[in-house]
């Protein structure tokens, strides 16, 4: 203990400072009291009662702010509760107050050395604050989603558990609230809010609890006694019979009412297709018959003039060309229908959207070859793709994956994000970094190359170039293939662009065979440069593909 006036070491047996003579009786009492609270905090921290430890240590520091041990321990307690910033603040204060050998300096250096962990902690805190903002603005669902992500990554953040439990209780999801509170108490045994909420839950479920727990008074115990009676087997049989009867009736209704309707609808659509095919076939047969007739006429006339035969033979190859648009259109319809269905399923997965599958499938759809029903769905998918909220969710998933070290997933998600926002070079850069982390050097090199040729003005372009040259061991970065325009790969995706070739719902053709004579030359060319990836790795490639 040092004198508060001259900083000389005090003789604990004397009431005054031996150097300056100051009366230190009260000072010593305050310091002893501070130490008592420090000891209490230490015991509670060891028993994982972090809230209790925090409160005791705060009192200790309110008494004597230069109690270095108390301040360092308080920082550690905050860190254990997921409040890294508060912990860092306490250690910084401790370092300022006590120069020289101080364990706080070691804690601060450790935190700064692990930049990834520090970024992750900062990210978690930001998300918590965001969630709190959502909850205050009544966006409780968004807040709950955000908090679930926070606690999944930062399992020691007690504040996040408390707020999530509160949201669950407000939404009457009591079981989930209870689970969250129990997890909070595993981190901090003395967490006051968690205990308070659990008591409230017990009180709310009190009646049910009394019935099932058996911890009751005499009066309730009498009510709990189940009267003894013989088992009524007849009742069981009757119940079983009713269940089977119900099942049978349900199946019968399904068989006789629902199935015929569906079968009829299917048969109807098949018959319609048959008719359309028949009309196509008959028109083609007419064409064949017409040509046969012409051929016969030509043969009759050509006995003397052999030159006319080539004319007939030259015309014959044209026949297959007219079939192609119809068959191709039918094939495209089927493919696009399957793609629309797959994209919808991927976007609305119950476990969470599968953005990689969604974006790959969505950008493979050709908007012109869609039936009326699919055109409507495709329009909805276009809205989802261009929605800022969807992009933000996708981006956050990608960031989370990168932070927790799931590089493969992060790479796929950043690729998906760059399909939606091709004008954002950072997404491709992040994908490149993630591929490199996943040791997929070929794809990493490809993404770095894309930065060099498509985003040369980016701050990271030089870094991307160095990475590319290092990974491929080439001496220079190959340019974009001749004829390719870099601007076309950076064009932002808009709703209008995606739906440009889409027929209006009332104009969508029911059946391509209504107009079987559409030639490939007449089909509209999509404006959006459809550089669709065949694989998640992206379609843009240098002429000489990097061999890693």
């Amino acid at each position: 203990m040092n004198c508060y006036r001259c900083n000389a070491v005090l003789d604990l047996k004397k009431e005054t400072c031996t150097k300056c003579g100051t009366d230190v009786r009260f000072f010593k009492k305050i310091v002893y009291a501070s130490n008592r609270y420090y000891n209490e905090g230490l015991v509670k921290a060891q028993a994982r009662d972090l809230s209790g430890a925090r409160d005791a240590l705060k009192i200790s520091l309110n008494l004597y702010k230069r109690n270095t041990d108390a301040r360092n321990l308080l920082g550690l307690v905050y860190y254990a509760m997921g409040e890294s910033a508060e912990g860092l603040r306490q250690w910084t204060l401790s370092k300022n107050l006590t120069k020289g050998q101080n364990i706080a300096e070691r804690f601060i250096n450790t935190m700064h050395r692990n930049m990834r962990d520090m970024d992750s902690e900062a990210h978690g805190i930001r998300k918590y604050n965001q969630a709190l903002g959502y909850a205050r603005n009544n966006a409780k669902d968004l807040a709950a989603i955000q908090l679930k992500k926070v606690v999944s990554v930062h399992s020691n953040m007690t504040k996040a558990y408390e707020l999530l439990a509160l949201l669950y209780m407000d939404d009457e999801k009591y079981e989930q609230a209870r689970k969250v509170l129990n997890r909070c108490l595993e981190v901090d045994r003395g967490n006051v809010s968690a205990l308070h909420y659990l008591n409230e839950l017990d009180a709310m479920e009190g009646h049910a609890g009394i019935r099932s727990a058996g911890v009751v008074g005499d009066e309730e115990r009498e009510k709990l006694i189940i009267p003894v009676r013989f088992r009524d087997y007849g009742t069981y049989l009757a119940n079983a019979l009713y269940i089977f009867l119900g099942l049978f009736l349900g199946l019968a209704i399904a068989w006789f009412v629902v199935v015929p309707g569906r079968v009829e609808k299917e048969l109807g659509s098949i018959a319609e297709r048959e008719r359309s095919y028949e009309s196509v076939i008959s028109s083609l047969q007419e064409e064949i018959a017409k040509r046969d007739l012409e051929k016969e006429n030509a043969e009759r006339e050509s006995h003397a003039a052999e030159e006319t035969q080539p004319t007939v033979q030259e015309e014959e190859p044209e026949e297959p060309k007219q079939r192609v648009p119809v068959i191709e259109k039918l094939t495209n319809w089927d493919q696009n229908h399957a793609a629309v269905t797959k994209a919808i399923t991927a976007l609305y997965e119950p476990e969470g959207a599968d953005y990689v599958t969604f974006t790959e499938t969505f950008f493979s759809i050709s908007g012109e070859d869609l039936g009326k029903g699919d055109a409507g769905h495709y329009r909805d998918l276009c809205m989802a793709v261009t929605d800022a909220g969807v992009f933000t969710d996708l981006y956050m998933h990608a960031q989370d994956a990168l932070i927790r070290g799931d590089y493969r997933q992060a790479a796929g998600l950043f690729d998906a994000a760059s399909l939606i926002r091709p004008e954002d070079g950072m997404l491709r850069y992040n994908a490149a970094v993630a591929y490199e982390g996943a040791e997929d050097y070929e794809n990493a090199a490809n993404r770095f190359w894309q930065i060099c040729v498509l985003f040369p003005e980016m701050e990271q372009a030089e870094d991307a170039k160095n990475h590319y040259l290092y990974l491929t061991q080439e001496t220079e970065v190959p340019p974009l293939p001749e004829g390719e325009d870099p601007a076309s790969y950076r064009q932002p995706v808009t709703f209008e662009m995606l739906t440009a070739g889409l027929p209006a719902p009332e104009d969508a053709a029911e059946d391509p065979s209504e107009n079987p004579e559409i030639s490939p030359e007449e089909m509209p060319v999509p404006e959006y440069p459809a550089v669709q990836p065949e694989s998640p790795e992206g379609a843009v490639q240098p002429e000489n593909a990097p061999a890693v």
Partner: protein, 46 residues
């Protein structure tokens, strides 16, 4: 019964890591020892 709005008011935003090390000045905090020194000074002046 828990009042959601009242409970929500008790939640404060967490300090962010960037703000933690900014201009931390320990002398701004007053503890019991500082109060004791102040009282003793006042007694002396009297």
């Amino acid at each position: 019964m828990i009042d959601f709005e009242e409970e929500l008011k008790k939640f404060k935003p967490s300090l962010e890591i960037g703000e933690a090390e900014d201009a931390v000045n320990a002398d701004d905090e007053q503890d019991m020892v500082d109060l004791m020194i102040e009282l003793m000074q006042q007694r002396k002046n009297l």
